[in-house]
Subunit: 191 residues, 2 copies
């Protein structure tokens, strides 16, 4: 009980079981009780560390360690945005990441603690990477100096979230390219 490696090993087992069972039966049907039974752990052992299903889903998602979400910097902002956002939609469009992330956002709608942990530990660090890459591009004169980079980040991500969470149509690279082009070039002059 006092060997920290044993605790870490058990934590990993529980997160791996969450991912396996979630893919088998779907995250909607996944319960902490079912994870406990499959992992051979006590229900209370899980609840002590993860007070809610959403908390367990978040740690399991973060355990995936996705290096593909890092930003390239080749000096060409459009090419780099395309590459990174294509990688992001490939993750969202496939297991294990996609269905898990969708379930996690669903839990976040009912549980403010899950929502704030998701923002703090995943959304906000990802947004910071996007903003940092845009900032470098602005410093190189590839973006209008006045443009609000946080807003650019929201315009790049928002339509993808809209499609992923609301219309639930498949995300494609072609759609990403159209969003990027629209963001750079605008829709036309207002009257």
């Amino acid at each position: 009980m006092t060997d920290p490696r044993r605790g870490a090993g058990r934590t990993e087992t529980i997160m791996r079981t969450t991912l396996e069972l979630g893919q088998e039966i779907g995250y909607a049907k996944l319960s902490i009780e079912a994870v406990a039974a499959r992992a051979g752990a006590g229900k209370h052992t899980i609840y002590r560390r993860w007070p809610s299903k959403g908390a367990l889903l978040l740690d399991s998602l973060l355990s995936l360690h996705e290096p593909s979400l890092d930003y390239p910097d080749t000096g060409d902002i459009v090419a780099d945005l395309r590459e990174q956002i294509h990688a992001a939609v490939d993750l969202l469009g496939n297991p294990p990441f996609g269905p898990l992330f969708q379930a996690l956002v669903g839990e976040a709608q009912a549980d403010p603690k899950v929502a704030s942990a998701l923002n703090e530990r995943f959304i906000s660090p990802q947004a910071d990477k996007t903003v940092a890459r845009l900032e470098a591009a602005r410093d190189q004169g590839q973006l209008s100096p006045a443009f609000d980079l946080g807003l650019a980040m929201a315009i790049l991500s928002g339509p993808l979230y809209f499609q992923f969470l609301i219309t639930q149509e498949p995300l494609t690279h072609e759609y990403v390219d159209r969003v990027i082009e629209a963001l750079f070039n605008g829709m036309g002059e207002p009257a």
Copy 2:
């Protein structure tokens, strides 16, 4: 039992009870059982009409009949977009609509039938209104003829959904104005 008005009256009572109880205890805690008890209806009566909590939330949302989501057409596309989207964020930012819509989107992440009904009965008709208003503006030369109007709709809505569902920061009129401006003017020329 065969008087259709009695059925309609009961349906209305159940939807009104859903809205009242959801506002009192929060939609996350709302169960069909609790609605049944408060409305003095049998649980099976509710399940016969609404197979899931999400289905009940959707009908309750649609029973609100929000005329403010219709589009004005003054001939000025920017002014009309601003007016309509300001009204939409006021709805999203306040009860009864906002918390109910958030809970419904949460349910949609776990229940594909709820997701498709939400799209068919609410999201898609709203998107069609936006696209129709943009189309009129394009015909009047206020938008670039080549611009994809469905994409414009997604760029106008996406950042708001991102903020509403993911970062969960308050939606403001000022944010809407910045999204509209960015969409019209673009972020700058790519290198």
